[in-house]
């Protein structure tokens, strides 16, 4: 092998504290090094050209660049050597900037360390092999999991781009949390007026195949070639026949079912259509409360249904689809606020959540837009809003800010004044977090124009006194205890990862944080990608966010999916594991630990061997560390390469 070594000055960034000429001179003596030089800026155009020329002039077969972190410029130099006619994987980098010149000023020690790092890179490069990416055909179809506003946006954008879309939503209707809101900040425009048309677009778009009341059962395959099994839960109604006329819901004798759409602020019938604008507008039977399904007595809906759609015998159905990319847009749920026993832990009827309050405000809600408190239906006058219930609270393991509560609380204070002009709102807050276009103005308006009284402090207890609730808290600005006799208390409950999110993440083989939010590829630079190729994120499933941000991320995820599937084939990263069939004994330890299911058992003339599915392998090397014979090796991170690096360090 003929290796060329390029030691970058990076201006004075490296040369200032490393004797780069000395490092180059040392490198010249290293095995297989045919050429070594120091260069001002290796990544600059002349720097890259110099590398290309050196490759040709010195007939180099591999290159070591000692400069900044490979996380920064490895792709740059790979392209450079490729232009010079080498395989793009015949390059190694020594990180002598972030790991050497920037963290210490002792030039002698730095020069020694830089030499060591170059030596390690040379020894590793000597064992590099030419790698050729494989071309994989793709299925040009996108799965969108979750039909909230982020998922809707992603689906519509994909469809707009000509892509086929499969949307899966676990509730009977799409719309998500946004469909439950009355108005939205900071413009106080009607939520359903904004969202409704988009929902209708989804229903009417020929490119979108909608599965509601359905969940992803399993997913196999890999980027470009996923196979998804969808469980269509049985609504006990043949949706092909159901016209959404609603007669069944009028006649159903059981009117005490929990009303999910209204967050329990009212009851509904066992067979119901969640809300008038539901998409699809189809009836679903709640099997837990339906008298026919529970004890076989009733059957009224079947009698009244004009289209004969009711089917008590219906069973779940599994459907399989092939897609090339997945957008996860599963949103969020609210945390269980009853852990706050000082707020009554659910014992007080007039302590409600903000989303329940939203339903009281909504004209399509159980009170038709009149604020009536749950205990006695009276109109409340003194309303206390408590923020950060389940946000920024380390004591219950939720140190994060939910992000949207400050804004919706301000909105609810404004709407309260609109609904009940002689009411007084009190808002207990920790900090007002309103960065965003027209947001801070909005929270000020709640205080200044709508007279909401903002108290900076936490509430320590809520005590029922007669038909009032005594809210005791601290006003930390005034430095005193405050007590407010409230008619209604609204808790701004923090969000958490959607229930079942970790389980979905396991199916998608993406990672999630300790709260269950899905992990993006890079916090700043890959906000909608995940570490599993072909799976993208949109909306609050990645982290809590408000409607504009969710919509923006929906579009971003769609753009990524469209970009990925714009070609007929995909190139796989060839830095994958491979099996030396002569050494493999088929013990199965590798396929048992592979996080991606990328290794499978195969039969080679009667002997069991392991086989790597290159397109699925993500190159983590866990199998390599597990295989006792070392029969499975991760290209460019082989045992021998790591050992060569260790030897270079320890034995010279």
């Amino acid at each position: 092998m003929r290796i060329g070594v390029f030691i970058c000055h990076c201006g004075s960034n490296i040369a200032g504290t490393v004797d780069v000429a000395q490092v180059a001179a040392n490198a010249a003596k290293m095995p297989d090094v045919a050429f070594a030089v120091d260069t001002m800026y290796a990544c600059s155009e002349p720097g890259q050209q110099a590398i290309e020329e050196a490759v040709k002039q010195h007939k180099l077969t591999g290159v070591v660049v000692a400069s900044c972190s490979p996380r920064m410029h490895e792709p740059t130099f790979r392209r450079a050597v490729e232009r010079a006619g080498l395989n793009r994987y015949m390059i190694e980098m020594a990180n002598i900037r972030e790991q050497v010149s920037w963290i210490g000023k002792d030039k002698e020690a730095n020069t020694r360390k830089a030499t060591d790092l170059v030596h390690m890179a040379v020894e590793k490069l000597r064992l590099n092999r030419v790698l050729i990416p494989k071309q994989i055909p793709v299925t040009r179809k996108v799965l969108v999991v979750g039909g909230g506003v982020a998922g809707i946006q992603a689906a519509l954008d994909c469809a707009e781009g000509g892509m086929e879309v499969v949307m899966v939503e676990r509730e009977p209707s799409i719309g998500g949390k946004m469909s439950k809101l009355d108005k939205t900040f900071p413009t106080i425009d009607c939520s359903s007026c904004v969202l409704g048309p988009k929902m209708v677009d989804v229903a009417q778009n020929d490119h979108i195949d909608l599965f509601t009341y359905s969940e992803v059962e399993s997913i196999t395959g890999y980027v470009g070639n996923f196979e998804v099994t969808i469980r269509k839960k049985a609504p006990y109604v043949d949706w092909e026949k159901c016209t959404g006329c609603g007669i069944c819901t009028e006649k159903c004798p059981n009117k005490k079912s929990f009303d999910r759409h209204n967050e329990g602020m009212g009851t509904t019938t066992s067979i119901n259509i969640p809300f008038p604008q539901a998409i699809p507008k189809k009836a679903t039977i709640n099997a837990a409360t339906c008298r026919k399904l529970v004890d076989g007595k009733c059957g009224v809906c079947a009698k009244v249904c004009p289209s004969g759609a009711i089917n008590y015998e219906q069973e779940d159905e599994l459907v399989t689809v092939k897609v090339g990319a997945v957008v996860a847009a599963t949103g969020y749920d609210f945390m269980d606020w009853t852990v706050y026993r000082e707020y009554g832990a659910g014992r007080y009827k007039d302590v409600i959540t903000s989303l329940q309050y939203e339903r009281l405000l909504s004209a399509s809600g159980p009170t038709e837009g009149h604020i009536k408190r749950p205990s006695d239906g009276k109109e409340p006058k003194n309303i206390v809003f408590i923020q950060c219930v389940g946000s920024r609270d380390v004591s219950i393991g939720r140190p994060y800010c939910s992000g949207f509560c400050c804004m919706y609380t301000a909105k609810q204070a404004i709407l309260t004044k609109d609904h009940i002009p002689d009411s007084q709102s009190y808002v207990f807050y920790m900090d007002i977090r309103s960065p965003g276009k027209a947001y801070d103005e909005f929270t000020r308006r709640a205080q200044e124009e709508y007279g909401a009284q903002y108290l900076r402090g936490r509430v320590s207890t809520i005590v029922p006194l007669g038909d009032k609730l005594l809210v005791r808290g601290a006003d930390t600005l005034a430095g005193q205890q405050v007590e407010i006799e409230a008619d209604l208390v609204v808790l701004a409950v923090g969000g958490e990862a959607a229930h079942g999110a970790p389980q979905l993440a396991e199916k998608l083989r993406i990672s999630y944080d300790s709260y269950g939010f899905f992990m993006e590829g890079h916090v700043k630079l890959k906000p909608v990608e995940t570490n599993t190729a072909g799976v993208f994120l949109a909306g609050a499933c990645q982290g809590l966010k408000d409607i504009p941000a969710s919509v923006a991320q929906g579009s971003a995820a769609a753009a990524k999916a469209l970009g990925l599937l714009s070609k007929d084939t995909l190139e796989s990263d060839p830095q994958t594991a491979s099996v030396d069939l002569k050494r493999c004994v088929g013990c199965g330890k590798c396929w048992n630990v592979c996080p991606f299911g990328a290794i499978r058992e195969m039969d080679m003339r009667g002997q069991i061997k392991a086989e790597v599915l290159e397109a699925v392998c993500q190159g983590c090397g866990l199998c390599n560390a597990t295989c006792p014979q070392g029969a499975i090796q991760l290209s460019h991170f082989t045992d021998n390469q790591v050992l060569a690096e260790v030897e270079a360090l320890c034995r010279c």
Partner: protein
């Protein structure tokens, strides 16, 4: 039922202002088969001042009591007083911290050789005896009287360290009083501060705070208040007149220790319950016992 034996720490009030608590406690425990062995030569738990001055010293006071109990071969101390409970509970907790026990041992020169714990008598009755078992001992159900249970602030807080009952909505007294036949009212202020020791320095504070409890109890129609803390009892009972004066009310609400009522229900001789030590006369309330039931029958 097997006898349960504990080292008993009566606390300073038990020997003085709350002697009726101590007496009724011993009587009730005897009835329930809880054997109390007095810790020989026990010392003050440190009360409020000690830990405000020096945590090590404060813990050393508690540690000495545990060392005394160790002599008896008993590792669990029980005490009726929530303040004594809290202080000595804290002592044990602090001594788990690295280096802390060594500093305490320097003072006591009597390192603890075993693992110790401290509980309230209330906790033992609730958890080890259970309300169901208590009900079996009842000879005279206290039907006909409505009570509000008042726990005070220390009995089960902070929840993380006390690990007893629900720290925001305790039910121990509610359940025990129901077991002996009382009608228990839901008392929203069951844990709100009575003013504590502030009564000594400025009785307006205690009057303001405890006065509200009394008014709410009165408003709810309570015949009596039931407490488990000597200080609460003092503020509610002895200082009831002060609170009435502060608010211009004229409430006469007897304030019982829960053990006194249990003793009554168990048919224990009244002299052993020291009912005569109460300031607000309990006689009118005691007269109601059993009445409403009889009236209903008639």
């Amino acid at each position: 039922m097997a006898e349960k034996t504990f080292a008993y720490y009566p606390g300073c009030s038990g020997a003085g202002t709350s002697i009726e608590y101590d007496k009724s406690n011993r009587a009730v425990c005897e009835e329930l088969g809880i054997k109390l062995v007095d810790i020989p030569d026990w010392n003050c738990c440190g009360s409020t001042p000690a830990h405000q001055v020096d945590h090590v010293l404060s813990a050393a006071l508690g540690a000495r009591n545990f060392a005394q109990a160790e002599q008896l071969g008993l590792d669990t101390i029980i005490t009726p007083c929530p303040a004594c409970l809290k202080n000595q509970h804290n002592a044990l907790e602090h001594m788990e911290e690295p280096g802390f026990a060594e500093r305490v041992n320097e003072l006591t020169r009597r390192p603890l050789t075993r693992k110790h714990s401290i509980k309230s008598v209330l906790q033992v009755i609730l958890e080890d005896i259970t309300p169901e078992e208590v009900a079996k001992h009842v000879k005279t159900p206290l039907s006909g009287i409505k009570i509000v249970p008042y726990y005070g602030c220390l009995m089960n807080r902070p929840g993380k360290s006390m690990k007893f009952d629900d720290d925001e909505n305790p039910m121990a007294l509610d359940r025990l009083m129901a077991a002996i036949g009382c009608e228990v009212l839901d008392f929203p202020l069951k844990q709100d501060c009575c003013g504590g020791a502030a009564g000594v320095a400025d009785n307006k504070v205690t009057s303001r705070l405890s006065g509200r409890h009394l008014q709410v109890a009165n408003h709810l129609g309570a015949d009596a208040m039931v407490v488990a803390c000597p200080l609460c009892q003092m503020n509610m009972d002895m200082r009831q007149a002060q609170a009435n004066a502060y608010y211009g009310t004229s409430i006469k609400l007897p304030v019982f220790y829960y053990t006194q009522l249990m003793g009554l229900a168990f048919g224990i001789d009244k002299s052993r319950l020291a009912l005569n030590k109460l300031i607000v006369d309990p006689a009118p309330v005691l007269a109601k016992i059993g009445k409403s039931a009889e009236e209903a029958q008639a």
